[in-house]
Assembly symmetry: C2
Homo-oligomer: 109 residues x 2
């Protein structure tokens, strides 16, 4: 349970930044080097490396170094648990609204 | 676009903490005072107030003060955009896997 929670913590924190979401969308189309990504997102290499580290720690991105180039691609973690959490939460809210709606209708003359 | 991004940033950051997700799940069942929540989650009032502030800033929780009691309930923001982002991202990954699968099959003798 703690492990599950900390995985959700890491993933939600990783996607709480517009640049990191952009990196994921970019890597979804194909792998890229850190240098490519830095150019695409108009950032320093150091800045991009920090973002990649956060994404790698959450399992959303995987990297491999070949020679002097570190290549990034989509990692093994596909946000299944995170999507599930959001859906379950929204379903709970929906079901409460349905109950409220039925209650209000039942009180109409 | 910037506003949209910063809303996503705020919401994902808000749910990147297990206690805050727990608070949302609790409030999904009905409103509660900050004192109730502090007891339920075994925290100080000050600690709980901080979590509530983060949730309130992201629109996930709304609070109202009646007399000396601040009551919390689910706010107007239902994570539609966040759920949509996660679903779109996962669909993109799925579609890439499908392409890869078709490609590999087409190369079989």
């Amino acid at each position: 349970m703690v492990q599950y929670s900390s995985r959700l913590d890491l993933t939600f924190a990783a996607v709480s930044d517009a640049t990191r979401r952009g990196i994921l969308e970019r890597l979804g189309k194909g792998e890229a080097s850190i240098t490519d990504l830095a150019v695409t997102f108009d950032m320093t290499l150091t800045g991009m490396k920090k973002h990649i580290r956060v994404l790698e720690e959450s399992g959303l991105v995987a990297t491999a170094k070949v020679g002097r180039v570190r290549t990034c691609r989509i990692g093994p973690h596909r946000m299944d648990a995170e999507t599930k959490w959001m859906e379950t939460y929204r379903e709970m809210l929906e079901s409460r609204l349905d109950h409220l709606d039925a209650f209000l209708k039942s009180r109409k003359p």
